[in-house]
Structure formats: structure tokens, C-alpha cells
């Protein structure tokens, strides 16, 4: 796949940054090069956040891509730039002026829609001319509409750009998907917008057509010289097209950077998993620049605190296959897939899987060793080590309520040395009686302590799988309940995103801490 990463990656063009850091903090604000800037933009629908505290600037002529899984907020952000949605808070500055209150028809931006949104009752010519016919220009101090001749010239040149010169009189319904796509682009660029917004414009095309259109879009961007803001969930498309990629998840920016930067230096396990193929492991920092995973201590380049639990990402092309005994770790090759340019091998190190890319055709089902150079090891802070629910409470049956779901729990944990009496009151070691009904507690559950059940009737709670990252020997899965509460679970089983699963937690595995004094709940 990508080029061999250099040891010192250029922290280019927009720093690589975790969520809160804005890209280009170093850049002076009044940079003339900035065409559009989003400042602290948030959008919520009722209680749910679609986009949260979004900060970004885009340079003139840049090709920038919002990349993320569906529901990550990328389209909402685009729609706020277009003017179809108003941000709940924050500012959108176009050339330095706030446009967040302007309706879309007064913004000098045009959109290419996902399903093209061509007007079915108009032919190709009238579709493209739609915006021009509404436009008023100032000509020698007077405002006037465009003349027929001007319009038809502009339409013709737009059609020429998209290579459909002869199609003026065609009905939209007679065009293929690819042709409709081109007309949609022509309809947008004919208005000479300052920014062209593209909302997954290639999503409805087949693979071959998509590849061709990618190249054309890139060429078109170069030729027109206008800013493109592109939305996609296809990481390959993003890597191919963009100058800059903004990776998003759950309404928040995960990382901003060049395609190379994001590929080579993912900011977290999510980005690593989402972009390209990767091996992701849980590791422990043993010493300065030393990290242990796969049962071996590797040298690394990233500095972390000693004993810190970390996520380790290794790209398959950074793993070198060597004869057994000659590498850092030994394992057994179990699987081989021919991928055209290279083979993809699966190696089992104990119970942990390692994906390796190698151009050689090797025997499988035999032992082998691997070498991973320090520059192939990317260490990132673990985002989560346990599920913590601050706003849980105890109900009258001594269940802990998390996200409207009731889990049986051990309330005696709230008072050390206590026991339960027959009526469900907690008797302290000193004989004090506590009633914890409606007590606010903090509940903590380890990632490995949650059990998954397929049958929701047998579960304490249920939700939909929103994310599933493979970590060599297990999956780290995020289950989101309807109340938008997440349960992150380490599990051996795999589910698809969107699957509905039930979860169960053993009462003794739910850690409980009382918010406030226990005495408050003592019975008099």
C-alpha cells in the first residue's frame, strides 16, 4: 500500500492532533489564505449531539475531506456550511465574515448531492441553467439578470468541463448514474462558487466508475482552482483525493492531517482501524521507549509513562517475515490470501493474530518469525480502560440503573463490611441501617466484565453495536443504548455494526461508589 514511512514524519500542514487541538494553531488568524473557518461549531437535535465543538479552517483552493463512518457528523457539518442546517452554537466564517445565519441561497457555495438531486422535470440544459437564471449580476453599476446568450455560453462551458457537450436536450431520466453525476457537478460549478461542497458524490456509482470519477474530480479541482470540501466514508477515496483529511467520529474530530500523516501516524486506535489495515494490540509501556505486546518487548519511538496501558498499532506492511528463530517473535503462519501486488499472511502468535503483507509466496502452516522496526510501531494512549457511569443510581430493589436499564448489583459494596437484611436494607458493621433507594452512585465496569447475549430477553440491557475494533486476539466493541450510553466491551465474539445485542453484567463485577456521604442514606 502506501509508501514506506520515514522515521521522522513531516508534521506537515495542519498538525496531527487529538480531538481538542485545532489544526494550525500556529497560523495567524488573519491569514488571507483562509477561505472558510468553523469556530466551536456544535449542532444538536434535542439531546443528541450531531457535531460537537468543531474547529477547522480551510485554505483557499484546498481539497479537504471529511472522513468517518455514517452518523459521525460529517454530512451535518457539510450541511451547515451549505446553509441547510443552522449550527446550534458557534460561528462559520467565510472570508472572515460570519455566514452562519445566512440562508443557502445567499451563500456563494454550491453543493453536489449524494443522489445528485437533479430536477426531474427539467432537462439537462435547464438543470444547469437553474442557478444562472436566478442570478443577478452588477454590470456597470446596474444589477441585471444574465442574458440568454450569457447563460447558454456558461452552460456549454460547464458541460464541456464534465465532458457531456452533446447532452443539453436530454431528459434526466435517460442519463446513466455517472452522467447524472456529471450533470450535478456541472450544475454546481456553473455558478462559479467559492467553495464546492460534495456530499458522498460517488457513493451511488459502481467501483470502476468511481475510480474514474475520482481521477476526474482531482483533475477538475486542479483546473478550476476552487476549494473543494468533500464528504465520504470511503477511506481510500479520501486518501486518493485529498490535500487534507478530517477524520470524524461521534460528531468530534479525531484527527486532521495530510493523507500520509493520517495513514502513518494515526492519532488513536479508531483512526488506525478506520484508515488502512492495521494490527491493533493492547500493550504496556515497560520503560522509556520500550513497549510490550505480543509477549515481547519492542523498541519504540513514542515516549509514554512507564507502566501505562497503551494501544499499539502496527501496519501489516511494517511487519517483516523472517525464518523462525531469527525474528523478535515466533508464530505460525495459518493463512494466505493473494492480493495482487502482495500476499496477506495471517500469523498466530499464541492466540493473537498478526496480519502481515509480503510480496513473497511462502508456505503456510509452518512456523515463522517476525521483525517490527521501531518506526513501524505506533503507540497511542488508551482512550478507555473501564466503563464509568457517573449518573447511575440505585432503585428500590437494590438494582443499579444505568441508562434506564436495571442491573442487579451488590449494594453492600457501598458500605464496607455491611450486609443486607431481609427487607433489602443495608446493615452497616456498626449496626446502622441504610436505605439506598434513589442514591446517586458512580458505577464502574471493566471492559472484560461485560457479557454479551444474543437473546435480548435474557439480557440486563441492550443496544446496537456502533464500533468493533479487532485487537489481535479479541474485539473491542462499543454497544450504544437508545439513551446514547455506551458500553465498551472486550469480547471474543464479533458482531457487525448495527447489530442489536444484549449485555449482562455479574452483580459482583459492578464497582459502586456513592456520590456523597453514606450517612445521608442512614435510616433514623
Amino acid at each position: 500500500m502506501g509508501p514506506k514511512p520515514a522515521v521522522f514524519r513531516k508534521k506537515s500542514f495542519g498538525t496531527l492532533c487529538p480531538a481538542k487541538i485545532k489544526r494550525g494553531d500556529a497560523v495567524v488568524k488573519d491569514d488571507k489564505n483562509i477561505i472558510i473557518e468553523l469556530k466551536n461549531v456544535s449542532k444538536h437535535y434535542g439531546q443528541t449531539y450531531a457535531v460537537e465543538d468543531f474547529n477547522l479552517y480551510v485554505k483557499k483552493g484546498e481539497f479537504i475531506t471529511f472522513l468517518g463512518p455514517s452518523g459521525c457528523g460529517k454530512t451535518t457539518t457539510l450541511r451547515m456550511i451549505a446553509g441547510f442546517e443552522m449550527p446550534t452554537s458557534g460561528q462559520i466564517l467565510l472570508n472572515g465574515t460570519d455566514i452562519s445565519g445566512l440562508p443557502p441561497y445567499q451563500r456563494p457555495v454550491n453543493t453536489v448531492f449524494q443522489r445528485y438531486a437533479l430536477f426531474p422535470h427539467l432537462d439537462v440544459y435547464d438543470n444547469i441553467a437553474f442557478g444562472l437564471k436566478l442570478k443577478k449580476i452588477t454590470d456597470g453599476g446596474k444589477t441585471r439578470k444574465l442574458t440568454r446568450k450569457e447563460i447558454s455560453e456558461k452552460v456549454r462551458s460547464a458541460l464541456k468541463i464534465v465532458d457531456l457537450e452533446e447532452y443539453e436536450d436530454r431528459d434526466i431520466s435517460t442519463l446513466s448514474g455517472g452522467q447524472q453525476q456529471r450533470i450535478a457537478i456541472a450544475r454546481a460549478i456553473v455558478n462559479e462558487p467559492e467553495i464546492l461542497l460534495l456530499d458522498e458524490p460517488l457513493g451511488a456509482l459502481d467501483l470502476k466508475m468511481r475510480k474514474d470519477m475520482q481521477l476526474e474530480l482531482k483533475a477538475m479541482h486542479k483546473k478550476l482552482g476552487i476549494t473543494f470540501i468533500y464528504v465520504t466514508h470511503d477511506q481510500e477515496e479520501a486518501l486518493t483525493l485529498s490535500d487534507t483529511i478530517v477524520v470524524m467520529k461521534d460528531g468530534m474530530i479525531q484527527q486532521i492531517g495530510t493523507p500520509e500523516g493520517i495513514y502513518n501516524e494515526p492519532a488513536n486506535a479508531f483512526v488506525a482501524d478506520f484508515i488502512g489495515e492495521s494490527n491493533i494490540y493492547s500493550g504496556t509501556v515497560i520503560d522509556r521507549l520500550k513497549v510490550r505486546f505480543l509477549g515481547h518487548v519492542f523498541d519504540a519511538l513514542d515516549e509514554f509513562e512507564k507502566n501505562e496501558k497503551v494501544d499499539v498499532v502496527v501496519r501489516p506492511e511494517d511487519v517483516k517475515l523472517v525464518p523462525p528463530g531469527e525474528g523478535m517473535v515466533d508464530g505460525r503462519l495459518t493463512d494466505k490470501i493473494f492480493k495482487g501486488i502482495h500476499y496477506e499472511y495471517t500469523m498466530m502468535v499464541g492466540h493473537t493474530e498478526v496480519i502481515i503483507q509480503d510480496t513473497r509466496n511462502l508456505e503456510i502452516n509452518c512456523p515463522a518469525g517476525i521483525v517490527i522496526e521501531p518506526d513501524g510501531i505506533h503507540i497511542m494512549k488508551k482512550e478507555l480502560t473501564a466503563n464509568v457511569y457517573d449518573d447511575a443510581y440505585i432503585d428500590k430493589n437494590n438494582n443499579v440503573v444505568i441508562s434506564d436499564f436495571r442491573f442487579p448489583c451488590d449494594v453492600t459494596a457501598l458500605v464496607p463490611g455491611s450486609r443486607l437484611d431481609g427487607e433489602g436494607y443495608v446493615i452497616g458493621p456498626d449496626g446502622k441501617v441504610y436505605d439506598f433507594t434513589d442514591a446517586d452512585v458512580k458505577a464502574t465496569v471493566g471492559l472484560g466484565d461485560i457479557e454479551l447475549v444474543d437473546n435480548i430477553d435474557e439480557a440486563d440491557a441492550w443496544g446496537n453495536v456502533v464500533e468493533n475494533i479487532y485487537k489481535g486476539d479479541h474485539y473491542m466493541m462499543t454497544v450504544r443504548t437508545q439513551q446514547d450510553e455506551d458500553f465498551v466491551i472486550d469480547t471474543e465474539y464479533t458482531y457487525d455494526a448495527g447489530d442489536r445485542v444484549g449485555i449482562r453484567i455479574k452483580p459482583e463485577l459492578i464497582g459502586l461508589t456513592l456520590n456523597g456521604e453514606a450517612n445521608k442514606y442512614a435510616k433514623k
Binding site: 443552522m86 449550527p87 446550534t88 452562519s100 445565519g101 440562508p103
Partner: protein
């Protein structure tokens, strides 16, 4: 700028419609309830209710209406279901024109149609005066069959032929396929058809008047009678009873997605 001003403009288009509906649909219904619960002097009273149920004629009317309504619904479904099914079956080659032929009687005024049916039956020797129930039922089926066929047809043309083929492929005999696949899939159409037949049958006093030579009294007839006599409060009470039955009916079928568009999607 908290609200999205874009959506405002289009939302407001419903205002005249809503004013009209509230004024001429909601308010009149509230008036019915108010009238049903008051006496002639406007005082709250249950006297209407008491006197309605005290009169055995009213009870008979209610029971007869229910039976005729049910009977007509069943007959229309039995006769109309196969028609709709065959019309929707592609290999029989029926065109839209045939479907429209079933709808066309709707364009011929229904009073005229009903009177024509009566005259034909009379010519054939079936006299409404002697057989009021039989002639009324015939008149009802004649009138409501198109209303049955249309929603059924609309559901059936949407039915995925490959699901039926899948059922056969998995070893179901044609009768099994019908019971296990076709019938459940066409349930929305059946419910729509039933709601379009049952209530109107009970409330239509014209057909029973014309066909049954005024020997049969349905709920519609009693409302009409109270209306003629200017007894608004009693009329409202009967109307309210019908309303309650409608609410119960739609509550009972609330889980079945009915074929709304069948009524609008005629063209």
C-alpha cells in the same frame, strides 16, 4: 439563530388547511359530544343515553346494523378478494382499463345506481317490500364492492412475486402459500377494505331506504330521523355511539399498517 429558518416557510403552508380542519372537523365533533351529553335546555344530562337504551327499537337497530355491516364486509371481501388478486396477477394480462372499469360505477351517482339495482331486482321478481333484508344486502354489496377491490388491488400489485415463488420453492403447496404468505401480506389491504365498508354500511340510510322499502332501520336511519325531527341531542348521541365504535375499530387494527394510499392512489 437557534431555529432552522428554512423549514419554517414550508411548514406554514399547512396553516389554512389546519384552520379549516379544526373549524369544520374538530369543532363539530366536539359539538356532537357536547350535544350528546346535554338535554334540550343545554344542561348536562344522561337522559339521552337512558332513553336511547330504554327503547328496544334502538337496540334492535344497533344489532341489525352490526349484522348487516359485518355481513356486507364479509361478502364484499369474499367476492372482491379474488377479483383484486386476479387483476393484480400479471400473467392474466388484465390492464389498468379493467381495473378502472371496477371503479367506474363510482362516477355514476350512488342514489341512481341503487335505485337502478332495485328496479332490476323488481323486474326479476325480487320485491324489496317482501324481502327487505335480501334486497338491502344485495344493494350494499353492489355499492361497496368497488371500495373493497381498490385497496386490495393496491396492496396486491405491490406484493413481491419472488416471495410467493420462494414459498413454493421451499415446499409450500399453493393453499399453504396462500394462507401463510399471501394472506398475511395482503392484510393491510383487507383492513383498509373492511374499514371502508363496515362503518359506511351501518351509517348509510339511503341503501336501506331505497332497497328495503323503509322496512329496515339502520343506525344511519335513526340519525337521519332525529335530524328530520330536529332532535339534535338524540341524533348527536347516536352519532357519538358510532364514533366510539369507529375509535374502537381503529384501535383494534392499529397494529396493521393500512393502505392509506389506496384511497388516494386511484390514478
Amino acid at each position: 439563530m437557534q431555529k432552522n429558518s428554512l423549514h419554517f416557510q414550508r411548514k406554514f403552508l399547512a396553516i389554512p388547511y389546519m384552520i379549516f380542519m379544526v373549524l369544520f372537523v374538530v369543532v363539530p365533533l366536539l359539538l356532537i359530544i357536547a350535544y350528546a351529553a346535554t338535554d334540550q335546555s343545554g344542561m348536562p344530562s344522561v337522559e339521552n343515553l337512558m332513553s336511547f337504551f330504554r327503547d328496544s327499537n334502538n337496540i334492535n337497530t344497533l344489532i341489525i346494523s352490526l349484522f348487516i355491516g359485518l355481513g356486507n364486509t364479509v361478502l364484499c371481501l369474499l367476492a372482491g378478494y379474488p377479483v383484486a388478486y386476479f387483476l393484480a396477477k400479471k400473467d392474466l394480462g388484465f390492464t389498468m382499463a379493467t381495473v378502472l372499469l371496477f371503479v367506474m360505477p363510482m362516477w355514476i351517482n350512488f342514489v341512481l345506481r341503487t335505485a337502478a339495482t332495485r328496479d332490476l331486482l323488481f323486474w326479476l321478481g325480487l320485491n324489496g317490500g317482501d324481502h327487505p333484508y335480501l334486497t338491502t344486502m344485495i344493494g350494499m354489496v353492489y355499492n361497496y364492492l368497488p371500495f373493497t377491490i381498490l385497496p386490495l388491488y393496491t396492496t396486491m400489485i405491490k406484493m413481491d412475486q419472488s416471495q410467493i415463488e420462494a414459498s413454493c420453492d421451499l415446499g409450500a403447496t399453493p393453499p399453504q402459500t396462500f394462507v401463510k404468505i399471501i394472506l398475511p401480506m395482503t392484510m393491510p389491504g383487507i383492513v383498509s377494505a373492511a374499514t371502508m365498508v363496515f362503518m359506511p354500511t351501518m351509517s348509510s340510510y339511503v341503501i336501506s331506504d331505497v332497497m328495503g322499502e323503509r322496512k329496515i332501520s339502520l343506525i344511519g336511519n335513526s340519525i337521519q330521523l332525529y335530524f328530520d325531527q330536529g332532535l339534535w341531542h338524540m341524533g348527536s348521541l347516536v352519532a357519538l355511539i358510532m364514533l366510539i365504535m369507529i375509535v374502537i375499530g381503529s384501535f383494534a387494527t392499529r397494529n396493521i399498517k393500512t393502505e392509506d394510499d389506496a384511497r388516494g392512489g386511484l390514478w
